[in-house]
Amino acid sequence: MTADVLPTLAAKVRAAVHPGASVCACGTEASSVLADRPDGTVVRHADTVAKAHAPGTDPGELAARMAVAAHRALDGVLLAPLSPGTAELHGRLVTFWPYGTPVDPETPEAAPWEEAATLLARLHRTPETVLPSGLPPMRGPAKAARAIARLHAAGPHPAAAPVLRAWSVLPAWARDEASMPNTRTLCHGDLHLGQLVHDPGGTWLLIDIDDLGRGDPAWDLARPAAWFACGLLPPDEWTRFLTAYQKAEGPAVPTDTDPWPALDVPARALTVQTGAQAIAKATAASRALDEVEVAVIDACDRMSAHPPELAPGFPT
């Protein structure tokens, strides 16, 4: 399916850059493919990016998410689309965005942790009045549940047991089996270093609205938290991220006490999700888990000795 979408999407993004012209006028020979995955195909031509969203994307939910990205209250926080509407291509919904420069994957140590944290804090502080009534829950727990489904589909693996055990003791909302306790806060839903771009002026922005929605904002901090807890992200980088978030008065964690009661459940869920994906990928490639993946599975294993925290007295 994706093979069909790619060339047409490339033509579409070219046409968006040069409306009315039959040939490309800017000298950008070809459009470049930024991503081509089941959950989205992204093609760039000059300064414009077109994204074909995953098959089956709900048009109403995408429209609500687009409205948030286009809202003036999110200026300087979320990348705004070139137009708030969507196009359709071979049954896929397509949206258009300005190109932004991503974090260089070759130098992750130069990651803009403070900027990422400050953007999240501002996102989480978006007034509820800005959120359209049709804005769905953020999709973090749904993605975790999908990773578990993939793990099951991959067949038996010796490392699957600790991952499934850690999953089974998470509260129902974190497993996408009940609605989320917090529905007032705007969340990104899938934060990682690939979700940041900077504009030509050097201003960092969050991108990718596919998982955006209402929910527990601690979920957006939970991936770095999980990497730190697994012993993968150095403590100083985690501390920089967390401190910047607290300084920007993000509502997900308290500013002056231990953040872990709030982070515990989402960080467990992201650790489990990462472990499940690692096993599924390793199984598909018939390879052993590498050292980093083993560190994630080991963390899942240790969870069984410590039941999840209940985040007492925290705003819901």
Binding site: H192, G231, A299
Partner: protein, 97 residues
Amino acid sequence: MQCPKCRAPMHTYNRNGVQIEQCSGCRGIFLDYGELESLTRLESQWQQPAPPPPAAPAAPQAYPAAPAPAWGAPHGGHGGHYGHKRQKSFGHMLFSS
């Protein structure tokens, strides 16, 4: 400052008031004269009031500067292996859903 081992630039970090240089390439650490002693002294201060947890079952973790969950990696607060672990696989993990 340049890393004596791999020649990549070294960045200065402040760890509990002690300046340490870490290489942006191999993640090796350089300590000035007396800094190791300062770190050791700080560490022993952190650990002193720790031992007897009479009522609390899951006593918290080692490093007050960066609290960690009870299920966290055993040496999560003390580093040392990150350069080694920040290999291709974790680099990829940082950027994927």
